[in-house]
């Protein structure tokens, strides 16, 4: 069993037990909500796992590490930041992709930039954002977050380089 499974199962066990001792009905309600959320994301998640396993098979680690690896330099950042800003991939689904990229030789800095722009910058949803906040605020928010994402990528890459 993986480390993840051990960590999440024990944490889940402890929290459930405490919750159950305090309030049985609430705990049951929490289980039901959690299960509902899990059920809703299961199918899209499986689809993305299929896609990732295909991509990992067909795209060789050489290609990934050349364009998104530690030596890719500015190119890697540019690809990550632009693709991350434009595409609209739901958060849950993007993590297996990120893990796959790292497994295939992408650097933490590039992956962190990609993931952060994915979450913080939304070119596709910009028209919607403008409807809520007005043109000026929406454009400033996205630009500032674009810069922030690159800073986050650089710093995370730096720290992960020291740790790993």
């Amino acid at each position: 069993m993986s480390n993840n499974a051990i960590i999440f199962i024990s944490l889940c066990g402890i929290l459930s037990l405490v919750s159950f001792l305090i309030d049985r009905r609430k705990t049951w309600e929490g289980f039901k909500r959690g299960w509902r959320m899990f059920r809703n994301m299961l199918l899209p998640f499986i689809n993305i796992l299929i896609l990732v396993s295909l991509v990992i098979y067909f795209i060789s680690p050489d290609v990934i590490s050349r364009y998104l690896g530690a030596e890719s330099g500015v190119t890697g950042f540019a690809i990550a930041a632009v693709v991350g800003s434009i595409t609209l991939i739901p958060g849950f689904i993007s993590y297996p992709i990120a893990a796959g990229l790292i497994q295939q030789g992408a650097s933490y800095a590039v992956v962190a930039t990609f993931m952060t722009t994915l979450m913080m910058v939304g070119v596709v949803t910009l028209p919607l954002e403008i409807k809520y906040f007005g043109r000026r605020a929406a454009i400033i928010r996205n630009s500032l977050n674009f810069v922030a994402a690159i800073i986050i990528g650089l710093l995370v890459g730096l720290v992960m380089g020291v740790i790993k």
């Binding site: 899990f38 098979y57 849950f92 949803t125 919607l128 954002e129 809520y132 605020a137 500032l144 977050n145």
Partner: protein
């Protein structure tokens, strides 16, 4: 019929994939088998922690109801106000555009420019379900580092947004216009 089609469309990829995999095993098509091995590993990896993560999220949902925290919006300022915004955002889930209507609600309740954008920042970087999956896939070191770097940056962005929008008749709309 339409509903049937819609339901079917959701299953089309997985069905296609399973059919091709079974075929690969029957005719002994090696790439098909290898891809399935990769898929199988990642599926097992996922199924051994994600359901438990969602139970944890479900428990958070019932014990820390968002409505309770929302009551304090607009009343608290300074560090306490920022903390409430971050906490509220951490309890959410879903894509960023789902946070826009919440931002409108916060605005109506009297939250300032700075806090509204801090809420959006925390929403993008610190949602609990997202942190859980991130730990699972990229490791706890990654998540801690990224969160510690992001937190001051999106708080800073909140301040910058306030400076740039303060005298510009900034308003949050309900998204209909």
């Amino acid at each position: 019929m339409k509903i049937f089609m819609k339901k079917f469309r959701n299953y089309i990829w997985i069905t296609l994939y399973l059919v091709l995999t079974v075929l690969s095993f029957i005719i002994g098509f090696e790439p098909g088998k290898d891809i399935f091995t990769g898929f199988g590993q990642s599926f097992i990896e996922m199924i051994t922690f994600i359901p438990f993560l969602f139970i944890i999220v479900g428990l958070f949902d019932v014990w820390m109801p968002k409505e309770k925290i929302q009551r304090h919006i607009g009343q608290e300022s300074g560090v306490k106000g920022i903390a409430i915004m971050v906490l509220l955002a951490m309890l959410q889930a879903g894509p960023l555009y789902g946070a826009f209507p919440v931002a409108y609600m916060l605005y109506r309740k009297g939250a300032g420019i700075r806090n509204i954008f801090i809420y959006l920042g925390a929403f993008t970087s610190m949602k609990i379900p997202m942190l859980g999956i991130e730990i699972g896939y990229l490791g706890i070191e990654y998540t801690i580092t990224r969160t510690l770097v992001s937190l001051p940056l999106f708080i800073g962005i909140g301040y910058l947004m306030e400076i740039m929008l303060k005298n510009r008749k900034f308003e949050v709309y309900d998204g209909s216009g």
